[in-house]
């Protein structure tokens, strides 16, 4: 599917005084600017004509980001978003109107900005970030993220890491593409600046993300206590069993018919255990991601393009307004940005399931559904892969086998791929008792 690329005549859409607010910061010296900063009229020209920015996500944060970038002089902007517009977006994603419901967010957002801000040329990509490779991402000066999933952030992080080049072990600064990331939840938010290979990256600080609330399966299956347990029962167990809207049709949190079905059955379930509190709103809340954009939390992110935020800002206005700014440290052995080979230590009698558990449960790795391959007898062998059901079935018995039984040796390399990174991660297997 071809991307929507409207040839925009970049003629002089500048009127008197248009850039007055911006130019004072680009053309005047000041006591607090970066030591390398040299005021000049060329900086504005750079913004207007040369600088290429990638914005990921056209939701709550994305709309704010686009507006702020456009009004600060950025014109060559690419926008990636795989979603379409829903009614529930309209209370904060201000580039969308009721008539746009159902259309791709990236396209509508680009149209609106290009119309409202003369000269601005936002190019929309109704795609997933994973649909692009290095050749796409390489062209940008800065990447700004307004994503709603940790997995996507980690993938983006990994992609920019993969673009880094080293000359005799020394990082080439021209291969560094800064990543500005932000997220919100209710009355809280955060923003950070990541210089890949130089400052703390997403993987370095995985623990900063709040753990997603999951309930133990035994609670959901046989011992519910809260209305949430009842909803999860219907979502995780009843839906896949009954397939109410057709075989393999997944639950769509935006489809009122789906939610209605879940709501009614959750109520029934709750009734069996005398649990009160299952409401339509609670039901709708369950399939949603925990990180959702809030209102009014505007883009702090762009400020950093003037004088860089170093490097993490937290915001909370439940009680008054509170911000906390600190420098997140790089992790010495970060799997994404440290270049340090990752080690796996297991006894030869350990099972492949144990390795899988470690990859998914360890706080530093937090993989979702890793695929493990190894070179055995000169051939590339898939030990376990979850995401394709035929291969999953075929490799499932390996999980119960010991590493020794699988033919793995001490010092062997295991290649692991996962949705959380565009790159294959190599682990050195250390087998010891």
């Amino acid at each position: 599917m071809a991307d929507v690329e409207e040839p925009m005549a970049l003629d002089d859409a500048n009127w008197d005084g248009r850039w007055n607010h911006v130019s004072k910061f680009l053309e005047r010296a000041g006591p607090f600017t970066h030591p390398d900063f040299e005021p000049s009229t060329e900086l504005l020209q750079f913004l207007l004509e040369t600088c290429k920015i990638l914005v990921i996500g056209a939701g709550g944060l994305g709309c704010e980001l686009l507006k702020n970038l456009a009004l600060s002089g950025f014109r060559d902007i690419h926008l990636v978003d795989m979603d379409t517009i829903d009614v529930s977006n309209l209370n904060r994603q201000f580039l969308f109107r009721p008539k746009d419901v159902g259309r791709p967010k990236a396209e509508v957002a680009a149209e609106f900005i290009n119309r409202r801000i003369p000269g601005c040329n936002v190019i929309a990509h109704f795609k997933k970030i994973q649909d692009f490779d290095e050749s796409f991402y390489q062209q940008f000066h800065i990447v700004v993220c307004g994503l709603d999933s940790i997995i996507a952030r980690r993938w983006m992080n990994g992609m920019l890491m993969s673009l880094l080049t080293f000359e005799e072990g020394v990082l080439d600064p021209s291969s560094v593409i800064p990543l500005i990331d932000g997220g919100t939840e209710g009355f809280k938010g955060n923003a950070r600046v990541i210089l890949p290979g130089m400052t703390a990256c997403i993987e370095c600080t995985l623990e900063l993300y709040p753990p997603q609330i999951t309930y133990p399966m035994c609670t959901i299956a046989s011992m519910p206590r809260l209305p949430e347990h009842c909803v999860e029962y219907v979502r995780l167990l009843q839906w896949p069993k009954e397939n109410p809207f057709g075989d393999g049709v997944p639950l769509d949190g935006d489809d009122p018919k789906h939610i209605q079905w879940v709501f009614q059955r959750s109520r029934e379930r709750a009734g069996e255990f005398s649990i009160t509190g299952v409401t339509y709103r609670l039901t709708q809340g369950e399939p949603r991601l925990l990180i959702s954009a809030s209102l009014g939390l505007s883009c702090l992110l762009f400020r950093s393009a003037y004088i860089s935020l170093n490097n993490y800002l937290m915001f909370n206005d439940v009680d008054g307004l509170y911000t906390y700014t600190f420098e997140a440290d790089r992790k010495e052995n970060c799997p994404a940005c440290s270049q340090v080979p990752q080690e796996l230590q297991f006894a030869p009698s350990a099972k492949l399931q144990d390795v899988l558990n470690y990859l998914t449960k360890s706080a530093t790795l937090q993989m979702k559904s890793p695929a493990i391959t190894a070179t055995l007898e000169g051939k590339n062998k898939t030990l376990y892969l979850q995401t394709i059901s035929s291969i999953e079935e075929r490799t499932r018995p390996n999980l119960c086998k010991t590493l020794k039984e699988l033919g793995l040796t001490d010092g062997q390399e295991l290649a692991v791929t996962d949705i959380t990174s565009p790159q294959t991660l190599l682990f050195k297997l250390s087998l010891s008792t």
Partner: protein
């Protein structure tokens, strides 16, 4: 002048009509949606779904019945309006006497190239109105000074007035009018890379403060009779494993506390050592298999983990005690707002039936247990909470009677909500602008102690006061044009010094800041305006919904370092 009155007359009529019809429509729509979940939600409920999770239907009602006045449709003003219009504020009125300039259009999303030379108020209103057809957008093409001259009461009708980029004299005049009329006032300003907000409201009460990390109200140190009886019904020494392993940790702690009391003269474990012993006591209660190896009893692990907080003595926080001790609580009249009547009722409950404690909250956290045990325990707390709320309601009734008001003035759901949030009540009192600016009552201590760190955000506050002084003297702001930047540094420094001298502030303002403020040239970069507009809108929503706690009373945002601070000036 005739035009102005005509505009005002028309918009009042429109506002009154819209507001009353909207309220009844709201109630009808919500009732229809709630009565039968199977019909799904109205489009409006779907649209507002994400925000309803934050402040509920009653919060949304408050928002939809509010009318906010914003003075000056600069970028800061329109950004904050955007953030009020999107969630469905009832109505807004922009007061702005300016014509839109090329510079204005350059940093403002709600002005277009066609707006140049036209009324900024009108152009902004039209583009903001597009965001949400539920909202009533109005404008008055007049300066606030003119309105203050001719009709200060114009401002009385608003739920909140927000003054953006106001000159000092206008700000103080407006502040005085609103303070006397009891209308909350929020002043906002974006000045270069500095954001500033000042809230001036005499008294703002909050029932639902939604605290981030609230302690549970379990009463383990002072179990009420029904809880004691329920705990009695368990015999941990004589239970099948599956029941033993699925007993709620609250019961476990209560049981072992009884054991502890017998051996420790009815004293709670107090220090770390005693709590450790208590944890050991519980650990020893874990069932063992035939080889003497402890079984996997997660509920016991939960009990051990929660010992620290579970044994916190039940007590009334200082903030809530201050509310009970407040003047408003003591003198109940027919004018007393519902908040204070309920506060007084709860106070009376505390002093009688409550035995020194607030009404039981009625909620317990989730914990490992089988459904039946958990629900039964939960019901013990719920029922006690209901009983306590009924007792509080009786106090409310007699208070209302004593001032000649009908019992329906405060409803049962209101009282229930108040009781549930009794531990989290908050009251915010801001000082007036007059007090902040007067030489006698300015908060010298706060300013001087902050300035011990010369780069503290307080220096930015002093700089804002100084550029206002500059404006007073020179009828312009420093450094607006390139050629002015250097020579204005000296002039601004004189203003800084005269400010410090007049107020007797023995602090040092670094020259760097004076230079920086000349560099700003009174610019309003969009990104700073956007952030400040976001903050301001959130505070406005807090004021209107009376949920979450507003700041008190001066907020400074430093976009250079991405830091912020709040001062009480």
């Amino acid at each position: 002048m005739l035009e102005l009155w005509e505009v005002l007359r028309q918009f009042f009529w429109r506002y009154r009509k819209r507001s009353s019809s909207r309220k009844s429509t709201n109630i009808a729509v919500r009732a229809a949606a709630m009565a039968d979940g199977s019909k799904g939600k109205s489009t409006k409920e779907q649209k507002y779904d994400r925000q309803l999770r934050l402040w509920g239907d009653h919060g949304q009602d408050a928002l939809e019945n509010a009318h906010v006045c914003v003075i000056n449709a600069t970028a800061t003003g329109t950004e904050l309006l955007k953030n009020l219009v999107l969630p469905g504020i009832g109505a807004f009125t922009i007061v702005d006497g300016h014509k839109a300039s090329g510079e204005d259009v350059g940093n403002n999303f709600f002005l277009s190239i066609d707006s140049i030379g036209k009324s900024r108020a009108q152009a902004a209103t039209e583009l903001l109105q597009e965001l949400n057809s539920d909202v009533s957008g109005n404008f008055v093409e007049e300066t606030p000074d003119k309105l203050l001259d001719n009709d200060p009461e114009f401002f009385h009708r608003f739920s909140l007035v927000i003054g953006v980029q106001l000159e000092e004299s206008t700000c103080l005049r407006l502040g005085a009018v609103l303070w006397n009329a009891g209308v909350p006032f929020l002043a906002c300003r974006t000045y270069g890379l500095v954001g500033y907000m000042r809230l001036a409201v005499r008294e703002h009460t909050v029932i639902e403060s939604h605290p981030d990390n609230a302690l549970e109200d379990l009463r383990l140190d002072q179990p009420f009779a029904e809880l004691k009886n329920h705990v009695q019904s368990y015999n941990l020494d004589n239970m099948e494993k599956k029941h033993h392993s699925h007993t709620p940790w609250i019961i476990i702690v209560a049981k072992y506390l009884e054991k502890w009391y017998n051996e420790h003269n009815f004293q709670l474990p107090k220090n770390y050592k005693e709590k450790e012993s208590f944890r050991e006591l519980i650990r020893n209660g874990i069932l063992q298999n035939e080889n003497g190896v402890p079984e996997d009893e997660e509920n016991f692990e939960e009990a051990i983990k929660n010992v620290n907080t579970a044994l916190n003595p039940t007590k009334i926080s200082r903030l809530v005690q201050e509310i009970f001790d407040g003047e408003e609580c003591k003198n109940i009249t027919s004018q007393t707002p519902a908040f204070w009547i309920m506060a007084r009722a709860v106070k009376e409950f505390v002093e009688s039936e409550g035995g020194g404690n607030l009404p039981v909250r009625g909620t317990i956290p989730d914990m490992i247990a089988d459904s039946e045990k958990f629900i039964n325990l939960q019901n013990v707390y719920r029922e006690k909470a209901m009983q306590d709320a009924l007792l509080v309601a009786k106090h409310v009734e007699s208070l209302l009677q004593s001032v000649g008001k009908p019992p329906e003035s405060i409803t049962e759901p209101d009282i229930k909500l108040f009781c549930k949030n009794a531990a989290f009540l908050r009251v915010v009192h801001c000082r007036s602008l007059a007090d902040e600016y007067s030489v006698e009552s300015l908060n010298k201590d706060e300013i001087t102690s902050c300035m011990d760190s010369p780069d503290c955000e307080m220096v930015l506050y002093l700089m804002l006061r100084s550029i206002d002084r500059f404006h007073q003297q020179h009828s312009r702001y420093p450094g607006v044009y390139n050629y002015q930047v250097e020579e204005d540094i000296g002039k601004l420094k004189l203003c800084v010094n005269s400010l410090l001298q007049e107020y007797g502030l023995n602090v040092n303002v670094k020259d760097d800041y004076i230079h920086e403020f000349c560099r700003y040239g009174a610019s309003e970069p969009h990104t700073v305006a956007s952030f400040l507009g976001g903050c301001a809108a959130q505070e406005a929503i807090k004021i209107i919904t009376h949920q979450f706690v507003p700041f008190n009373n001066t907020f400074i945002y430093n976009a250079m370092s991405q830091t912020s601070a709040t001062f009480q000036l």
